[in-house]
């Protein structure tokens, strides 16, 4: 009847009931992906894409988001083929030969640990870059350790809560992140020059491809769906919302790169350590009560980093919890906190940090493309070969393994019932 009603997720009485496990609706999963993607990268993106793709940087950012969407649709398909299961669950299921559960877990471990390592190092890197930016620009005398520590503790507070809190925090913070970024991108166009954006397509294709691959890595974060997809809604159009979760950062990033190139030109852009921040510095809104908005922008950016950091942290904890077959991830979170803190302080300077960051990006690209593709092919093959074993059979088979499989906050059979 009413269009808005149709678009809104239909609330059900289950929402009131605490005993029913939480399900993330499609809009929330889109928001989760989007706010994970938007993070530290936004400050350096104009420089990194322009250094490869020159004037075409913004196009490569746009194409990069399309690539990211393709990869995400792999993951989304994979997740939807295994409703109610996270990566740990379906990787094990797919790799289990016959009835040997233990071998399945053993075979799955490299994949899982690759992800866990990726997210762990990601959390530490993001915290470190955040600390570096804050200590070089705003709080110059505050020790790096304090900034990283406070940020990690805030993320820890989030991780201590239930998954539904994480989802809601992401949902409510997303507009607070996207809108200021879009405003900055648009308002800095006042000092843009068309000359800076031209010539288009005059760059060598190898560089352009590299730039595109690079900008694809800046959309990393969508692979969180491998773990959070387990609580996602199955009805409606999940894929559409998942893709929207990449499209929104894609548009924002492209806009920022576009403005960066239009305002600074490629030559200047390559010299700027944090081009987006400089973009804020070139923008003056006459008549505004506040003059220089860098600090205000950084305050908004704190929220963007926080959602990335918190989600990575949460993802790591959930992953490890499921591998170990624990009931709660809270002790893991507590144990990881000093690890993150220590790891984040390892890089000696910013240059090394950027180097590590680009390696981490490549690692992430591998994780987000090769592994899901492999698993998806496996999933198609196995589904055609024979039916997936029934949960009842599993229960008799190996208790320890089943306990691990069911360790996810909601049992896998839940969504089946819903359908």
């Amino acid at each position: 009847m009413n269009e808005a009603i149709v678009m809104s997720p239909t609330p059900s009485d289950e929402d009131l009931d605490d005993s029913v496990p939480f399900r993330m609706n499609n809009r929330q999963s889109g928001a989760l992906i989007a706010s994970t993607i938007i993070g530290v990268g936004v400050l350096t993106l104009p420089r990194s894409t322009a250094s490869y793709a020159a004037q075409n940087g913004w196009i490569s950012a746009l194409i990069g988001s399309v690539f990211a969407m393709l990869l995400l649709s792999l993951i989304s398909t994979l997740v939807r083929r295994h409703p109610g299961m996270s990566m740990v669950g379906f990787t094990r299921q797919l790799l289990t030969p016959g009835r040997h559960k233990r071998i399945g877990l053993l075979l799955a471990l490299p994949f899982l640990l690759s992800y866990a390592l990726y997210w762990t190092s990601g959390t530490a890197l993001v915290a470190r870059i955040f600390g570096e930016v804050v200590t070089t620009t705003v709080l110059k005398r505050t020790p790096l350790e304090v900034i990283i520590g406070t940020m990690l503790i805030t993320a820890f507070i989030l991780v201590m809560h239930d998954i539904e809190v994480l989802v809601r925090v992401n949902e409510v913070l997303l507009p607070l992140i996207v809108i200021p970024l879009a405003i900055i991108g648009l308002s800095s166009l006042q000092s843009a020059q068309l000359v800076n954006l031209l010539p288009m397509f005059q760059v060598n294709w190898w560089g352009f491809l590299k730039g595109t691959a690079l900008s694809t890595t800046s959309y990393l974060g969508f692979e969180m769906l491998m773990i959070f997809g387990a609580i996602g809604e199955q009805s409606g159009k999940p894929l559409r919302y998942h893709l929207l979760g990449v499209a929104v950062p894609g548009l924002v990033y492209s806009l920022i790169v576009f403005s960066g190139i239009a305002v600074f030109g490629v030559d200047e852009l390559e010299l700027l350590a944090w081009p987006t921040l400089e973009l804020v510095k070139t923008t003056e809104v006459p008549g505004l009560i506040l003059e220089r908005l860098e600090s205000a922008f950084l305050a908004v950016w704190v929220a963007a980093v926080f959602t990335t950091l918190g989600n990575l942290y949460y993802g790591t904890c959930t992953m490890l919890k499921e591998i170990m077959g624990l009931k709660h991830h809270r002790w893991i979170a507590l144990a990881l906190l000093p690890l993150f803190y220590w790891t984040s302080l390892q890089a000696p300077n910013v240059q090394v940090l950027f180097e590590l960051m680009s390696r981490w990006d490549l690692f992430g690209l591998f994780n987000a493309s090769v592994i899901p593709l492999f698993l998806l092919i496996l999933s198609f093959m196995r589904r055609h070969g024979k039916e997936t074993p029934h949960p009842e059979n599993e229960a008799n088979e190996d208790r320890a393994a089943t306990a691990a499989a069911a360790a996810l906050s909601d049992p896998p059979e839940m969504p089946m019932q819903k359908e």
Binding site: L139, G265, L271, T282, R292
Partner: protein, 382 residues
Amino acid sequence: MPLARRICPIFLLLSAMSVLLCGCWDRREIEERTSVVAVGIDTVQGHKELIEVSVQIPIPIRIAGSGGAGTGGGNGKTVQVESARGRTVLDAMKNLQKKLNQQLFYGHTRVIAISEDAARLGVNSLFDPFRRDPEIRRLLWLLVIKGKAFDALNINPNLEQIPTVYIMTMIENGSKAGTITDVNLGQFFIKLTTDGRQPFLNYFQVKAGSLRWNGIALFRDDQMVGTLNDEQSWSLLRLAEKKNGSNITYNYDNDPAKKVTLSMDYLRRREKISYKNDQVQVHIRVDMESNLLEKTFDSNLFKASEIKKLEQGAEVYLEKNAMSLIQALQKTYRTDALGIGARVRAFHPEIWKKVNWNEAFTEANITVDFRVNLRNTGMEMQ
């Protein structure tokens, strides 16, 4: 949940306590920072390796309306100018700090003035700290001062309490009127780094305690190479920045007794760039509208031919000035302040790849065509 409930407050408490115990590193009260509103950079006579940096600091209590104890005093200076020498800019600033009780704060610096001598030596090494320091604005005004920059900070305009504000508003209003370029630090940096575009800055002169705009200082890369006079500068603004320049006053019929003043509005610029005879051919066409502001002789303005004649006079005058500018840029100073190179690169990349622009610019065939459309003769019909 109970675990989380127990651990969260403990963590909050611990972190809060540790932070409170360590203190607040960056907290510095507003009155503990001495805001520098303008910086001047000079060379030192006789000491080639030394640089003199001067800063202008407003004295809050002396400034009316600030609500301090000593309000309302017209007596006494509202700003203090301090200077110190050093081997680099930061070295000089460090020496400057020795004289002051509070830390200097450059977040409110709105003007950086460099002396012509310093500018001619090259600004890259001088501006390096300004690029690195996040406190420094990108939107501050850069000027080149004929003589010493120290004197520019010491001017005493009675119209504003803080001389820097006077300079700021002078540049802002001048640029709004189209007579002064509004190159700020950020744009200067961009022009420094971008190929095919050379920076230029406002050139000021201090005379008897007051500051006067004296044309434009041209740079080749980071070195100042010369200045343009007023007419040339305004031509540069018209051709490079699509600004109006100022009103023009020219002789009618080449008769020094008959003078006409026209305003310049709604400037539109187009250029055609091609490559012919081993030479870059640039044709710039500028259309503008104007109003008649002043006329020192009688003529019948009801005749269309008369209007046409006025327009033609203006076009000839404008083209003459523009050609003198282009001559100066191409031959004398060999610097592409017009930014034609950037346009060649953007719109004709094939030409850009073919030539070395620094050379090609000096040899380029640049022609300018002004079209003036006189629309209005003011409140007087005759």
